[in-house]
Amino acid sequence: MIQAIDIPTSTTYSDAKKAQVFGEEFMPHIDSMYNFAYRLTFDEDEAKDLVQDTYLKAYRFINSFQEGTNSKAWLYRILKNSFINDYRKKSKQPSKVDYQEVEQFYNSEDTLSEATTDLRLEATKDMIGDEITNALNSLAIDFRTVIILCDLEGFTYEEMAKILDIPIGTVRSRLHRARNLLREKLSSYAHSMGYN
């Protein structure tokens, strides 16, 4: 549940309680937050700034966080919004979802047939971290993001929908498309390793 990011609630924490919530609920996620930020920006300094901004915002708005709800999803949503509002603007990248106009296409059942691939199971067994990481990193940001949230961080579709501000159906279709693209990338690596 990520109720705290659904409905703005106000809990007035004392300074001591704020420090406790911040230290016990927010800071343990710094590792995955930094990795998410790095995979969005591909720049160590920007990732560091993005995480720092996220934590400062989280502290500033801590009264809208309800203890016991999903702090990780709450922080991820702040980080994602900071990235879209601040960092994408700075780097003059589009601030809106890149693939909105073709999202309807992804929702189409027709795309399911794309899933057939010539990637073989044996080929994937020989793959190393670099190849997997490069394949993931080469995906367009919206596709990369859903794979990270789902497969690396284990968020549910509902949590992802709330973090990304998109309907669950869009999460599902975007994931489907992202996985097809990832499989294609891995397939290319497999060919380069001599699997034909």
Binding site: L121, D130, T133
Partner: protein
């Protein structure tokens, strides 16, 4: 050569949709039952199931993790306190 050169499973699209839901822990009980019954009889979907499991496993275990800068934690702390 592909493992699935010519998909002849008549339920392939449905299976693939359910496969993703199963691996994401989002499938209903009925969908799970349908799929697991189906892959006992369909090698195409069984192969695809194994491949998808393997890709998920690779993502979970082999994607390189970036080390968090050693100063980040203390910098955040100092800005909050200070």
């Amino acid at each position: 050569m592909s493992d699935y050169p010519d998909c002849r499973c008549k339920d392939f699209e449905k299976c693939l949709r359910i496969l993703n839901l199963i691996l994401d822990n989002e499938a209903s009980h009925d969908e799970e039952s349908f799929f697991y019954d189906h892959i006992e009889k369909c090698m195409i979907c069984f192969g695809h199931y194994n491949l998808e499991c393997q890709i998920r496993q690779l993502l979970k275990t082999k994607v390189i993790k970036e080390p968090v800068p050693s100063t980040l934690f203390s910098e955040i702390k100092s800005k909050i306190v200070g």
